[in-house]
């Protein structure tokens, strides 16, 4: 028997983080991988189904914005931009919507084992990351087909995707932590996420919105990420808004939401098993 087996350590109950980092990371990875395999390779058409959704949405929106609204005609490489944006926003939407009920759907382990609670929403986000990676391969093929060739600025997507991941994780943490106490948050978020699709420069670049709408869109923490994506991947000479407002407000909101996520999750985690 080692000394470790006889050294008394304080037990303080469940927490958001806590415990060994290695175990948390291993759990995170395993839960995400198994969930990904189950969701995307468990059915006959598997991954193809999950690809259908963004592609169909893309097809519909492309028709709407090039033939009906005709806004798309004014944007260079509009189809490529639209597809990339839909895939990126689809990741945010899918991850956050799944995360809402994630703690509840993992009730069996939350109520019966001890592990850092933050693993649950993060695993959901990681599962969506895997899906995003596959979808981005499809997007790259589409870009190459449209004669948009890789360039050094594509590396800029690494921090952009990182920032998108962090923000998605933060929103997922808030939603999953609040859901056991507010069961209608799932419905509210479904509506809010759809509204956010139009409140983010996904369907058209920020510069095409004017007046108040421009201010609203520009203050969205996701806006700079989409604007940078456009410039770095699709159109290097695209104009990017960079007034003090366009940088400070979304950045402040981004930081605020991330901070809120840590605070809310830390606060709820110790007693989340009791609220289920």
């Amino acid at each position: 028997m080692t000394d470790d087996a006889l050294t008394l350590r304080d037990v303080r109950g469940p927490s958001a983080l806590g415990g060994s980092v290695r175990r948390s990371l291993e759990l995170l990875y395993l839960i995400a991988v198994t969930e990904f395999k189950r969701t995307y390779f468990g059915t006959a058409l598997g991954y193809l189904w999950s690809l259908c959704r963004p592609l169909l949405l893309f097809a519909v929106l492309l028709v709407v914005f090039t033939h009906i609204v005709r806004l798309g005609k004014q944007v260079p490489h509009y189809p490529e931009l639209l597809l990339l944006n839909i895939v990126l926003f689809g990741f945010f939407q899918e991850a956050t919507m799944t995360a809402v009920g994630s703690v509840l759907s993992q009730e069996s382990i939350v109520r019966k084992t001890q592990f850092p609670r933050i693993v649950i929403p993060l695993a959901v986000v990681l599962t969506s990351v895997f899906n995003l990676m596959f979808n981005l391969v499809v997007v790259v093929v589409f870009l190459l087909g449209s004669e948009i060739w890789p360039r050094w600025t594509w590396l800029g997507m690494i921090p952009v995707l990182g920032a998108l991941f962090v923000f998605t994780a933060a929103v997922s943490m808030i939603l999953s932590a609040l859901y056991p106490r507010f069961r209608d948050i799932g419905i509210i978020w479904a509506v809010a996420a759809t509204a956010l699709l139009y409140g983010t420069p996904v369907l058209f670049p920020l510069q095409h919105a004017t007046g108040t709408l421009n201010r609203v869109l520009a203050s969205n923490p996701l806006a700079p990420l989409f604007e940078l994506t456009r410039r770095w991947v699709i159109q290097p000479d695209a104009p990017v808004q960079h007034s003090a407002f366009d940088i400070a407000v979304p950045l402040a909101l981004y930081a605020l939401i991330c901070g809120l996520a840590v605070w809310v999750f830390n606060r709820e985690a110790p007693r989340i098993a009791e609220a289920l």
């Binding site: 006889l6 008394l8 189950r38 009791e274």
Partner: protein, 423 residues
Amino acid sequence: MSVDHRQVTNTIERPRPELVDGPVVIEVRDIAKEFLIPDQRLDTFKERVTHPMAKRGGRRLRALRGVSFDVHQGEFFGIVGRNGSGKSTLLKIMASIYRADGGHLRMAGRLAPFIELGVGFNPELTSRENVVLNGVLMGLTRQEARRRLDAVLDFAELRDFVDLKLKNYSSGMMVRLAFAVMVQADADVMLIDEVLAVGDASFAQKCVDVFRERRNAGKTVVLVTHDMATVQSFCDRAMLLEDGELKYLGDPEETALRYYRMNFGGRGDHDQPQDVPDVNARLIDAWLENPAGERVDNIEQGDPIGFNVIFEARHDLVNPVFGFHFQTADGVQVFGFTQHLDVPDSEADVLREGQRVHLHGTIENRLLPGRYVVRAMISRNRAFGDLALHVLRLIEFVVYGTEPGAGTVSVDTDIEATIEDAP
């Protein structure tokens, strides 16, 4: 009916009071926990908005009120109490699933961080994936968990089914896998909640095997249970909780007695037959056999009933009489019989503590198709009122066949119907 009266290997593990002198591995001091039972559950935003004045209050349930105790290294420690006494809450606090409101708790060694078997098993995954996931949940690295996969599968005897999804497993296979995972996790401290309450007889038996193995391996086990037989068989010490307070801590035998007194003490309705708890004797096994000697749950109409019961004495039973009543599912007695111990005249008619008795033989089967229940009693000292054990539902079985009739039994008849000439 013959009685097989023999000394069997002692399966009741003796308490090891000397362990109390060993190092403390779980130190619980003044642990308190309160739950708020809301008068009105407001768990949506809509309700919060539409009932802004609704009180957030409710009844406070004090689940634990300052419980303190130590568990020492290698101890098998039982926690018993009635439903709602706080025992599961206490275990969940020890397992870091709930957070205590007051007091403090310290632990040593690697804790198996789960309190039930098969926690986190996902029916959509194969047993290979489940074993690795469960291993990591229990604190192994992925490499370690994969390395132990073979050992787990061998222990569970499920090597051929490694890539089968768990939803296609039988319940028995699932149980074997869950146990194998638990044993292979090899934690220093295990906290287990009520495992014997779920599952079938084979599950319970496997539980017992694992308990014995853990106990002999010198592992510390804290077990929450309703089953006094387990407490008496395995625990070195046991603790009785009532309404969140510690009522007794010490000898498992005494804990079991106090638990029974608490449960059965206050009742006066003697008209209704009641189970007599297994303080003096306990049921080890009871089963029926078909004429081929195979264990069966149901008997074909007309086939003799192969009858087998094994009891074990927890204390010396003087002049024991074993009685069995066969009843219909509605409680109507059909027939019954009694049996004494089969001992030579020169020997005392006593079943000694720890000895087992196996009652076995065949019973003529005149029962009509239907559902039946066997009730068992052990009385002692040649007095029918002095029950050592009373099992209301020893065996339940169905007699199946294609010749139903009136009543509950068929009897041989020799009746002729002849036409008489008119007078």
